[in-house]
Symmetry: C4
Amino acid sequence: MDNENRVILNVGGIRHETYMHVLKKIPATRLSRLTPNLANYDPVLNEYFFDRHPGVFSMILNYYRTGRLHYPTNVCGPLFEEELEFWGLDANQVEPCCWMVYTQHRDTQATLAVIESLDLDGDPPTQEEIAKKFGWEDDYHSDTLSRWQQIKPRVWALFDEPWSIFYRMHEVETSGYTNYKKAIGADKPYTIAHPYFFFIDLICNIWFTIELVIRSIFCPSFHRFVRSPLTIIDIFCTSAFYVELILHTILIQTGSLVTIDFLSMICVLRLFKLTQHFSGLKILIQTFKASAQELILLVFFVILAIVIFAALVYYAERSQQNQHNQFSSIGVGLWWSLITISTVGFGDMVPKTYLGMVVGSLCALMGVLTIALPVPVIVSNFSNLYSHAQARAKLPKKRRRVLQA
Amino acid sequence: MDNENRVILNVGGIRHETYMHVLKKIPATRLSRLTPNLANYDPVLNEYFFDRHPGVFSMILNYYRTGRLHYPTNVCGPLFEEELEFWGLDANQVEPCCWMVYTQHRDTQATLAVIESLDLDGDPPTQEEIAKKFGWEDDYHSDTLSRWQQIKPRVWALFDEPWSIFYRMHEVETSGYTNYKKAIGADKPYTIAHPYFFFIDLICNIWFTIELVIRSIFCPSFHRFVRSPLTIIDIFCTSAFYVELILHTILIQTGSLVTIDFLSMICVLRLFKLTQHFSGLKILIQTFKASAQELILLVFFVILAIVIFAALVYYAERSQQNQHNQFSSIGVGLWWSLITISTVGFGDMVPKTYLGMVVGSLCALMGVLTIALPVPVIVSNFSNLYSHAQARAKLPKKRRRVLQA
Amino acid sequence: MDNENRVILNVGGIRHETYMHVLKKIPATRLSRLTPNLANYDPVLNEYFFDRHPGVFSMILNYYRTGRLHYPTNVCGPLFEEELEFWGLDANQVEPCCWMVYTQHRDTQATLAVIESLDLDGDPPTQEEIAKKFGWEDDYHSDTLSRWQQIKPRVWALFDEPWSIFYRMHEVETSGYTNYKKAIGADKPYTIAHPYFFFIDLICNIWFTIELVIRSIFCPSFHRFVRSPLTIIDIFCTSAFYVELILHTILIQTGSLVTIDFLSMICVLRLFKLTQHFSGLKILIQTFKASAQELILLVFFVILAIVIFAALVYYAERSQQNQHNQFSSIGVGLWWSLITISTVGFGDMVPKTYLGMVVGSLCALMGVLTIALPVPVIVSNFSNLYSHAQARAKLPKKRRRVLQA
Amino acid sequence: MDNENRVILNVGGIRHETYMHVLKKIPATRLSRLTPNLANYDPVLNEYFFDRHPGVFSMILNYYRTGRLHYPTNVCGPLFEEELEFWGLDANQVEPCCWMVYTQHRDTQATLAVIESLDLDGDPPTQEEIAKKFGWEDDYHSDTLSRWQQIKPRVWALFDEPWSIFYRMHEVETSGYTNYKKAIGADKPYTIAHPYFFFIDLICNIWFTIELVIRSIFCPSFHRFVRSPLTIIDIFCTSAFYVELILHTILIQTGSLVTIDFLSMICVLRLFKLTQHFSGLKILIQTFKASAQELILLVFFVILAIVIFAALVYYAERSQQNQHNQFSSIGVGLWWSLITISTVGFGDMVPKTYLGMVVGSLCALMGVLTIALPVPVIVSNFSNLYSHAQARAKLPKKRRRVLQA
Ligand SMILES: [K+]
Ligand SMILES: [K+]
């Protein structure tokens, strides 16, 4: 009787055996619907043949037997999921003890998608890709690109492709001009630059203006171009020069010049333009995007810790009469506690009372933990992205296709 | 003769063979009691059939053969333990070389239990869960909830559920009032606040008092409510205001005010209330609970190191005559050695003698090791909890049930 | 012809097939000596039966096929080595790509041996263990322990077992006295202590002397007792008091007192006595022993780096005329470069010239790397020891024995 | 019909089954070309026999079935690649989810090659190896080495082998002389050394000159010897002495002496000679070579961050009128931001304005991330090299050869 109930499943040549009632445990799956009428039933050997991975099937059959879906660790996650799909099982039914295995390869796939999107290899785009970028796919495929449609991408490429002369020139100008402005600013603070410097400034900014105009005409999408952070910085910095020029003409030098100096702080961000074709930085930026949640956690921990320690040290230093008390407000206490927590410890403000020292000691120790806890999560995100990018760089771009027989 | 003794064990379709005397090695287990009278004995094929995982059985049979229980690393720990249980073996008999594998999945299960208890997803509780919380399970199931029993949870929810208006108001008040007090305290130290500020203080504290009274009436368990740390802080901070008020009325302003200022330090802890519905912080607190032993180890190492280095630097600085000796006592030496060991290094106290510099150098190097050694254990506890919580968030809450055929 | 040469090896029920000439490749092993005359040859099925692990055998047969011994990663190392031993193969013949797997489990076994030797559970020793410790094994087994031999261990236990009252008293005295001396020393430097303090000192030291005498009489081995570092510190500190006493009686107070103060630095090490029964510290000490090579590497890297940077910063600061040059010698340069490399950065000495700043920048960056490189190796040694100790604590002490049939 | 199409593949005794059309999916491979005419076809059992690893074959057959090549994780990478090669498949066709597994063992092989090249065990070279080094392989094999060819390697060995007396002497001289020069320089800056010191200098440098001449005559390749960095330092340092000597004779002491002092900075690098036979340092240098890309990334991140923060803090500190502004130029801002980012924090320059403090806080926090991100990649390179070197040291040098039957 017991033997009547037995089923032999020949999976890729390996014969697995179980009872029919076991296969009925998970309804609406491939195995629960087995009948001798199926094409893969062999009446001679009394077995069902499936052309699948035999080793992985042990785990799948075990799900039927025990009602618990565990992931095998000797095969790749996606391979197991492919098998689960074939057998009509839901990959989400995985047991809690295998959650990590399950999510690890999900994360790997997310990482791979990110790397793919980063376009790290820097091959020049094909004609088709260019047409797609400009939104002329239909015209490209019907070979009806107008003269303008043929010239526009070429001019744009001159200003945008990292190997073109104008692009390189723009980079050199940007970094040169930014550093030159900084040097001028540094040597002669609070004064109008020498007339000679003024003309250099004027020429550079006129060139930047022309460049901006050309780029805005030949860009693939004006809408997207104008909203890009780098364009905004460019427009801001160039117009800042004209505003300054006008103000100087109208007003005589006043303290309000300081505010303009402050505006020029933002122009330093122009340097970010130099880095957009550097793959390491792309990965860094992607890491920060992927670790947004952990960064918020880090900032949250740090803010919570510095607010508490700032208040504690402020009251602690006031608890005892001392003339050298440097903690005049909770505001500077925040600065002190952040500098202590990050273990920088400038020493410009130091607690002088015993109670303050106890607070400082706790702050230094908590700092080690507060920062040490979320950082490894971010670091592992970076390492993960970086090592996958490195791994991909070692493999051939094109892969042989397998025939779909 | 030898062949007579042979046993064929058909486990899930795969045939394992061994000698009968091997199976007798571990007495009182399923395999040591095999007889041809069993229902799963097949006299035609001369084999015993077991509907279990065939791959894992290799490891189990190997335990009989060699007398050593090793864990396989290609399947999940709980799966192997399930098999061990079926075969009547004790999971604790594992060999020392596999201890880590064994405890790792035990730890995983402990971690999962912790995450389950944290209630990170924040779904609103069902009627049943609410009744359970208030201890009215019997009444709920018999549908005999009095009017008061129906109103009480609703009022409580208004003050306790993170999405209710009163709860949010309470949060805003708490943070606003704490920061306002700090600002006042910071700007005008040692003086009575302006009458205008006094009325704000008064109104806020009256509101806090009313809130406390309402919460104490409608709470599920008065006993547990009163003993909760957050309630204690609330009561303390509110009563501190009234005490201060009375003291001001009776006494004229004296130096004793400073002690009240010091008391208000504790009110900063009110800010912790804001964080009780933030999952990152819940994980952090859980990490510190789970890492209690490692934290003690860290604190113990640090105390041992700072006591020794404080004494060493104190004597070292006295060994040579120098007027600028800043190490006037071992007490301040403790502060210096902790600040050096944590690599903060404020620089307010620095050894001036060569011997003191040698002590300082050793202290800086030891610091790197003393702190670097236990921190990774705590960090890995945090990462473990955090990544499991992240993994769980990606999976569906409800899982399909497997029929128990 | 080809089929004639085929061999079927039934290993634990799984049939492996290969050619006879393949098995001859590695001479003088169990498989190279196969003949049909063996007891485990089955002429009906034309196969050889071996009652061993079938999965692992794939890897062993692969060694014969390809001439390369790879370790499987789905089973525990020792399990594989047991199989290798059965088949007469040498575990050292492993391929370079599997060296890490091979040494990892060797290291695990070394770690386990270390943990076993640490005696972390602290069970009280049995009568037999005590007799063994005192070297009276023969007398114990022949039951001829003299009265003295029976009393001696009991008295010793009073002073040595961590739960006895004398032991605890000794701990309290040691820490109390050390801290008291430090406090006295700290408050009244360079002066003779008050007569009242002198009598406390005298009584304490007389008690320490008596204790030392008792311990030296009742210790299991006088030779080993006297050479133990903790005894040496005890003798040194106690005698230091008497020496000081005599010197004070003979001499009037001179500057030479400072040297005695310096000697008392070593007495701080007495605090180490308090830690000998704390398992965390035992593991820490063991870590430093096991990481001796890495610690030397760390110290070597640090010395190399600080010598080079000390010289560089010294010359760099002299390269430009500046009155505020704080780098008066290479000696203080060493202090500066160590403090910079360990990222403590006290700020008592700072380069003032541009060249010095460049050197300082390099020093700060190199510091991060120099220290970051060998530390993880030491940290992983600690984590390894610690987690194995934790794992062992969760398992039962006594294990069921498997019958050797 | 379906069954007609079935193929049985007996791989090492385990029977795998699939359909013939599946094997045709990947053309031009061993399995796609299967015909019954092959010698390994068994017409009785209707199967093809292959003497290969049966477990790994599951993964290979799965590639045919699903068109995706996944790596198994229970066997070593090179073992799988050997199998892929046998079956005529391309290891590069691996799926993205297995890239990491694929590159990990590629990296392991690269690491092993590096360790092999480092020659860490320090066995003395054989006669043949010496002949090869000097480029006299042909003469050595034909036994026609001239007298000069026999003497030259011996003299060279005296000066180059780490155990020879001249080599050790040279090491002692180098370190002694360098330290002596530093001590002299440190004690008497800006003055000509005492005549007594001058004669020591003269004798040392004459000996260094003689040594250099002998080494240049007996070196295996003059070309390679002269271009070696250590020889260049030697020549530079020795000639620097003579140049100094001549300048002193001609000129009277002027400020130009400072430049010579500056030159002697480079002579400190002579100390690197002492380290060329220390295996830990060899691994460190190799790590830096292998991590060149990551080091560039680190330096790039640091430069980008310090340039931005230097500019930000400079403008921030100018935004508010404050007399104590220490940020007089962006140049010193770079120094401050690097010292803050590396968490050294000397405290010689500290922002005084609120805006500057905000910039400083961001700089301290970014520093933790900027440096924490690329460092683990470098650290893992070091750990990898180091642990492989450690693993190799535990294994026997000579391995038993497997007969190639
Ligand atoms: K620091
Ligand atoms: K510092």
